[in-house]
Amino acid sequence: MSIRPVTPSLLRPHKPIDQSVSKQNRRRIETINRRGVLRGTLTLGALALLTGCDVSEEPSVQDALRAVSAWNDGAQAAIFRPDHLAPTFSPSQVVNPPRFNAYYDIQDVKPVDGAAWKLELAGLIKDQRPWTLQQIYQLPEQELIIRHICVEGWDYIGQWSGPNLRAFLTRIGADLTAKYVYFVCNDDFTESIDMASALHPQSILATKYAGAPITDPFGFPLRLRTAVKLGYKNAKWIRTIEVTNTFRPTFWSKQGENWFAGI
């Protein structure tokens, strides 16, 4: 049995969520709900008791909440401004080293061997020859000094550079009318973004931070850095890029995080 962290956090592993407790106590939870509803209708104060037991995990409630979250994906896509640029900052505001975030702790990062690493391409891409790191270093670089915003609430200003994602997708003959760009990472993390966000002028495949190659914890050798998504959408240690029209749940969306996660 693993012990759960006292304060649940995105930065700590909290998968799998232990469903057994909820199953074992199913009868009790249902009783609490019925009572809770009666109580809740009486006073606001009593309503607060309802939160003591978390109804969010109840399958019907979770289904409803995820349906709203999916609807919010569409709402976010609808208000997305493809050419609107995120604020940029000066090099003096850059935080170095950047702040670490992943679903595990920084000491558990498994470094990628840059010499052996290759970027695989898949899906609706004409030229699927893999790329070595040296080849990627040959591409024109774009620098972004942008704000990283974590879904948890913290933020910092980072200085990222690497090939522009739109230029890269164009060069490899990707179908730019496809719906999604899907990333598989060296730690088996998966993430995908909508094509409109991938084609945004401030979306790059970053290889450098503050002018030096990205260090291991922050995605060496290649990571996504886009100004229009929350931190967790910016896949690190990218192994495969796939262009596709098929939606597949990604690491965080499976956990119940919003998929679109635009900012």
């Binding site: 606001l44 939160t51 979250s69 948890e152």
Partner: protein
């Protein structure tokens, strides 16, 4: 059978109905919006506290788990981004209604500083009277108007936190991302403070709570001369000459004269 009862009631009430249309203090749409808002605020605050806990603004402040909605952060976020639609859509309906019907103008204005000071003084000396639910005192006007403005500000800052890039022009007016978080948090604190006062006073003056459920007394600018005896649920505004010898208070009618009947 209920038919005879209805028959006997009808002639009783009919003559009392003024030729002008009688309106409730809190019309039905307003009551519906009030309670939808209460539920939405409850979801927004509880889930907001869960989201806050993941990266606190103040090291000394973590909201206890039994007070937050959502065991994990993503559940808090799911609730927050569900509740926001209810809060915002209902809020837009409420503001439109308040402006279009003139309710805000009638009930919340004018606000006079002298009255406000006097009412605060009365409240602190427990001299407030609640004989007339239909007129808000200066403190009520300030609080209700204030919480509406804070409600608007919390939606705007919420929008800036949700979409700091899409609405970067708007977000730029407030400052950095953490500044916007702080303003959003302070708006929440103001709303919580309002709720504490609002609920406490509603419980102290239960007829005001009842009025938000039943609609309260009828108002048409000219209250009925006699209380409607049949409708026991709603405390009717009883306008009768206060016995001068009995009442020490300067403000006319007793609030609960129905009890004495």
């Amino acid at each position: 059978m209920s038919a005879p009862a209805v028959k006997s009631l009808t002639p009783e009430i009919a003559p009392r109905r003024a030729p002008t249309k009688l309106a409730r203090l809190h019309p039905l749409p307003l009551r519906i919006m009030h309670w939808i808002n209460a539920a939405a605020i409850f979801i927004m605050i509880g889930s907001g506290w869960r989201i806050y806990n993941d990266d606190v603004l103040f090291g000394w402040l973590h909201f206890p788990d039994f007070l937050v909605i959502g065991k994990w952060a993503q559940y808090g976020l799911q609730w927050h981004f569900f509740g926001m639609w209810i809060f915002v859509l209902n809020g837009i309906a409420y503001l439109s209604y308040g402006i279009a019907t003139g309710r805000f103008r009638r009930k919340l204005f004018p606000i006079r500083l002298r009255e406000f000071v006097a009412t605060v003084g009365d409240a602190l000396r427990f001299h407030l009277t609640h004989d007339d639910l239909t007129v808000y005192n200066a403190v009520q006007r300030v609080l209700y108007l204030g919480v509406i403005l804070v409600g608007i500000l919390i939606v705007i800052t919420g929008l800036c936190l949700w979409k700091p890039v899409q609405f970067s022009e708007l977000a730029g007016l407030f400052g950095s991302f953490q500044t916007i978080r702080l303003i959003h948090f302070l708006c929440m604190s103001a709303i919580v403070a309002f709720i504490l006062i609002h609920v406490t006073l509603a419980l102290l003056v239960p007829q005001s709570l009842v009025a938000m459920i039943t609609g309260g007394p009828t108002v048409n600018g000219r209250p009925p001369a006699v209380a409607e005896p049949v409708r026991v649920a709603a405390p009717a505004p009883v306008v009768e000459p206060a016995p001068p010898a009995e009442s020490a208070e300067p403000a006319g009618p007793m609030p609960d004269s129905t009890k004495e009947r």
